[in-house]
Amino acid sequence: MPVRYIVDRVAKYVLLFSALLSILIVFLIGLFTLREGEPAFRQIGLEHLLGGTVWRPEQDSFGLLAMIIGSVLVTFGALALGLPLALGCAILLAEVAPDNVRAVIRPAVELLAGIPSVIYGLFGMVVLVPLIRGIDVPGNTGFGLLSASVVLAVMILPTITNIAEDAIRAVPREYKEGALALGVTHWQAIVGVILPAARSGIVAAVILGVGRALGETMAMIMVIGNSVVFPHPLTANPLTIFLSQARTLTGNIAVEINYATGLHESALFATGVVLFVLVMLVNSSARLLMRARTG
């Protein structure tokens, strides 16, 4: 058999092996987390873990709902602030900016992705928290969902911007020319043809951003306050819920794992499982959503 056929076959197996290896690693991590969390699921029960509002390990009270809500709210806040900004950046970079402007903005955005998370946390603590403390609402400490959302919004900006920009660039030029040739403005072509054609890539960008947001730990610990309270509006105005302190699922694990033992430790692994499931839910629902709209 000629050598190139052998190489061809070997290459196939090597590729297959690397793919299987990465699947195996994910599987093992999942299995490990699940195994460590299993006592908690068995002894505390799923409905208590997911539905319980009180987390007090010293009294064997392990309700994660406050943290689930905390993670979801902060992710939502980060998206609300970060997504328009990131999409704006992506559109600017892909469609509007001339090459020399792009040559400045693009590396700057990429630099954001390279900043370690603890630096974001520091920035949040030193700049953002004091600023937000200035909002005159009783009980507002500056630490809380709003600070965390702002920090997170900046952190997910490069992820979403980069992938969305690629998606917009990948739209065939024929679509844009076809639209412009009908006498629509550049902006109309962007909104009416280019963005819809880039939709699946943009959704992928958002999913990745959400995944990043749900998983972010260090910066969150530093600015969100970490108290195990149920996020609640501080006044009659429901928006003040974002001034409430909170704790994320990730923060819960990181803050307590050092001294946790027994059931408490297991409950922290269960927290990890919940996080896992949450991220998978986001991924698959986004995928379903996409299929429903393109199909």
Binding site: G178, A181, G183, V184, V193
Partner: protein, 256 residues
């Protein structure tokens, strides 16, 4: 020519950066006639066509010299968006948007501010009828345009262009990606459109030019590969007794 002039080009040059793609083109294109542009590959036919809706401006580094008039008005003094509303274009490769058939045709009118559903319905139906596509798609207007055959897609693109009621329709080898039967349908369609529109069509296909056009312009490259207009006149004259030797060589297949 005694026919009324729709488009007039005077001493027109176009440069891609330092490369001169068109050199000193002067031509009058009559209203409600079909004018074919023929010539060897790379002689600037597409570039010339894209002059009339100022699509070349989207390419960085393009410069033009000379005058182009529509109904006596300088098109370079017009707003390009408005100009493109009056001068529609059909591209070489069918390029329907990844939307439904209906939304493809309604896209232009909607973008120009028509919101009323009944009016949009009317426009969509009329445009599809004019593009000889209505009978084939009337029952599934919500189907994706990408599910149509190539020939249907191209007629959809024609319908899409008609929907904004242009005065001129530019076509860049609209049938080159199609089979002979689909090509004939497009040619018939073009014949019916000429009553209401001025049509300028680029074609590689000599028979098509001879069959389907009223006037023909023959372009060629000079030694620097700059495109220039060699001969222009009524199609029958140009094909039966060309006045330029180069035209004769080209149409008899001795060249390019």
């Amino acid at each position: 020519m005694q026919l009324p002039v729709k488009l007039e080009v005077r001493n027109y040059h176009l440069f891609y950066g330092n490369f001169r793609a068109l050199k000193d083109v002067t031509i009058c294109i009559p209203r409600n006639q079909i004018t074919a542009i023929i010539g060897p590959s790379g002689c600037g036919k597409s570039t010339f066509l894209r002059t009339f809706n100022r699509m070349n401006e989207l390419i960085p580094g393009v410069r033009v010299q000379g005058q182009v008039l529509m109904d006596g008005q300088d098109i370079f003094a017009m707003d390009p968006v408005e100009l493109r509303q009056r001068v529609g274009m059909v591209f070489q490769r069918p390029n329907p948007f990844p939307k439904s058939i209906y939304d493809n045709v309604a896209y232009g009118p909607r973008a120009h501010g028509i919101r009323d559903r009944r009016r949009l319905d009317e426009i969509v139906e009329r445009s599809l009828r004019d593009a000889a596509l209505w009978d084939e798609v009337k029952d599934d207007l919500n189907k994706s345009a990408l599910a149509l055959s190539g020939g249907q897609q191209q007629r959809l693109c024609i319908a899409r262009a008609l929907a904004v009621q242009p005065e001129v329709i530019l076509m860049d080898e609209p049938a080159s990606a199609l089979d002979p039967i689909a090509t004939l349908r497009i040619e018939e369609l073009i014949q019916t459109l000429k009553q209401r529109y001025t049509i300028v069509i680029v074609t590689h296909n000599m028979q098509q030019a001879a069959r389907a056009s009223d006037f023909t312009a023959f372009f060629m490259m000079d030694e620097q590969r700059a495109g220039l207009l060699v001969e222009y006149g009524p199609t029958r004259d140009l094909f039966t007794r060309p006045s330029d030797k180069r035209t004769e060589d080209y149409i008899t297949g001795r060249f390019g």
